[in-house]
Amino acid sequence: MQIKVVMSKLGLDIHWRGALVVSRMLRDEGMEVVYLGNQFPEQIVDAAIQEGADVIGLSTLGGNHLTLGPKVVQIAREKGVDALIIMGGVIPEDDIPALKEAGIAEVFGPETRIESIADFIRSHVKNTIA
């Protein structure tokens, strides 16, 4: 079954380049990617439910990773969504442990090869082959 990803800019952060490029390249890797544009945690989780997403991708450079990132995980788990939740953007190294603690599976910084994101997704999404 094809892996399905919903990709979203987190909150108000305006920098869409990374999120869009990752979306396109994950499609090249054989995944189905729904690009949500900018959304808040509640809407992101609702979209993930609606789309039956295996993965929720969050992108931010605006400094809201610690406030809004964990919120996505929390709302997702409350609503019974067990999708893999990953994050990308400009995020200080020191904040990564707290994000992982909160349930963000992995954080991808600048200069990450997109295929390594795809590999990570493939090895962490349950019962699926892409």
């Binding site: 909150g11 108000l12 490029v21 808040f40 400094g63 190294e93």
Partner: protein
């Protein structure tokens, strides 16, 4: 007659035709006997795709008529620079962006930078402010005072510029969107008036580019391109009538480039926007010379050193042509393309971050060789966080080294006459003209945004670039070329003041409690009505900010009256 013209033209060429013939013949012999096909592997191109030869000679610029095509600084066609004496008259402004936390926090950083030699202020706003939300709006959660300063009301603008001589030094305000610009400009003008400073004395720049709202940066709620473009024009028209020393727009090639364009597209989109603005303001009954002299531009300089210098030179040429030939502008200042440069944030790496000091210095040098009016040198830690005080200081020092230790500012446009640079300048100019024509063939800059064409152009470039980085075709030192063996670089990151959101919300609550609510509502209602009339909204916005209406309240009027637009990305 035609014979005469030809003769005169021939006389004005830089080189005698016989000499050119001889150079051409000798070059062919040189290629055959000396180079012997050893021209390097593969093809060479500039970053925007211009083929690059092994060596340039006078033959490559044989058609140039020096006086007509290049000329002198401060004279048409302004290839060599906008001012006659360039940096001898006035050095480029050292402008470092600052902005975080509350206005009080940023005011302190302003004072630090000015004490250390900055010659103007430059402020970046936080995302809720840029996107038109108050600090207590749920939409702004997590962003207040982060990546920029929070501004909610005229009181905040007063706190931001407290003790800063705004009648003596210039104030750059990175407002990004027209909707933000109209409010912040109104607050700034109202603040000055309250302080007793005549509006004529205010000098500065705000960004005010509808492409920032509708193409370059995405968001939750976006105004339709036509509405955003109208506000852009309102701010420019108001400033041309009230703030004679203010640059009410800085056409933002910079962020287009960061999002994903070539140098050619960067300049062409910005000029296409300036053309559309001029057409609209003329439709409203303004004369081109009323406002053109205050239109300014904002370029992004990457590492392709000569192409970037050629771009700066070519952009002045094309703008001059547009003003002269298309709009018949008479005032000499209307023909001057003045631009600010920021070095390219996206070229900075996270690996081995100190290498970024070298990249930024090279880009900054190109800006000065390209004749920039002001410069911001990015700090080495930008891939980690907003700059720390230490890294911001290195950026200022980089500029000062260029200004005082390299002697490059002592003579005007020092690369003029280089066969390569002149050839590249002409190539860039032609490609910029062609891309402007392509945009116009699709209905102009507003139309290519409405249709999503521009978004696709940007997205395609970014996608191809990422592929080229991953396959190693586009080389980045430390990343895919001599990949770094350093495991982890420890960089001290800048932390936004955590209490900023709370402090900002408290101030806002106090303001809402003490202001005259009826007066606010009256001003807001007038503005609401005027949104649907063919009038400039600036005076009504100014009335609203003077009544202590907040930025978020004013922008909510825009969202309600103009409606929202679906950002065309998928």
């Amino acid at each position: 007659m035609s014979n005469n013209t030809t003769n005169i033209n021939q006389e004005k060429k830089l080189f005698d035709q016989e000499v050119i013939k001889e150079i051409k013949a000798q070059k062919e012999r040189w290629q055959e006997n000396t180079v012997k096909g050893k021209v390097g592997e593969g093809d060479y191109y500039s970053d925007s795709g211009i083929p690059i030869d092994l060596l340039y000679t006078p033959e490559d610029i044989k058609d140039i008529d020096y006086l007509k095509d290049i000329g002198f600084s401060g004279q048409a066609p302004y290839v060599r620079g906008v001012y006659p004496n360039m940096y001898r008259g006035r050095l480029f402004t050292v402008r470092q962006i600052a902005g975080y936390g509350t206005p009080e926090d940023t005011n302190e950083r302003f004072k630090f930078l000015l004490k250390n030699g900055a010659t103007g202020t430059s402020v970046v706003l936080d995302l809720p402010t840029i996107r038109g939300y108050d600090s207590d709006d749920p939409e702004g959660e997590g962003h207040v005072g982060a990546a920029g300063v929070a501004i909610d009301s005229i009181e905040d603008i007063e706190a931001l510029y407290d003790g800063i001589p705004i009648d003596e030094i210039s104030s750059n305000i990175v407002t990004h969107l027209p909707s933000t610009t109209v409010v912040i400009m109104a607050m700034f003008a109202a603040m000055a008036e309250k302080k007793g400073i005549p509006l004529e004395k205010l000098s500065g720049t705000n960004q005010n580019d509808f492409l920032m709202e509708t193409a370059i940066g995405s968001s939750l709620e976006v105004l339709p391109p036509k509405a955003s473009f109208r506000l852009q024009c309102d701010a420019i028209e108001y400033a041309s009538q009230n703030l004679p020393r203010w640059n009410p727009v800085s056409y933002n090639g910079y962020n287009l480039r960061e999002a994903g364009t070539t140098a050619v597209q960067e300049v062409a989109c910005a000029i296409a926007n300036a053309i559309a603005t001029s057409e609209e303001l003329i439709r409203r009954g303004n004369n081109i010379d009323d406002f053109a002299k205050r239109l300014s531009f904002f370029w992004n300089l990457f590492n392709d050193f000569f192409e970037e210098i050629a771009k700066c030179r070519a952009s002045r040429l094309v703008w001059h042509e547009v003003m002269k030939d298309r709009f018949n502008a008479q005032h000499p200042k209307s023909h001057l393309m003045r631009f600010h440069v920021q070095t390219a944030g996206i070229t900075l790496t996270k690996v081995e971050p100190l290498n970024n000091i070298a990249r930024s210095a090279i880009q900054g040098l190109a800006a000065v060789l390209g004749g920039a009016q002001s410069l911001h040198v990015d700090s080495y830690d930008e891939a980690y966080s907003a700059p720390t005080e230490e890294s911001a200081l290195i950026s200022i020092r980089t500029q000062q080294i260029i200004q005082t230790e390299t002697n490059v500012v002592n003579t005007v446009d020092p690369l003029a006459g280089s066969y390569f640079v002149e050839h590249l300048t002409r190539e860039m100019a032609q490609r910029i003209r062609d891309y402007i024509a392509e945009i116009e063939s699709k209905g102009g800059i507003v139309s290519v945004v409405e249709s999503g064409w521009l978004h696709r152009e940007i997205s395609d470039f970014a996608y191809e670039m990422q592929k080229n980085i991953e396959n190693g075709e586009h080389k980045i030192v430390g990343l895919n070329y001599f990949p770094s063996e350093q495991s982890e670089t420890k960089v001290e990151v800048f932390r936004y003041p955590e209490s900023a959101e709370r402090r900002q919300k408290e101030k806002l609550q106090k303001l809402r409690a003490k202001r005259d609510q009826a007066k606010v509502e009256a001003a807001i209602n007038v503005l609401r009505e005027k949104c649907h009339e063919d009038v400039n909204l600036m005076p009504y916005i100014k009335e609203a900010v003077l009544a202590y209406a907040t930025l978020g309240e004013i922008e909510e009027v825009f969202r309600e009256e103009f409606g929202l637009w679906q950002f065309p990305l998928a």
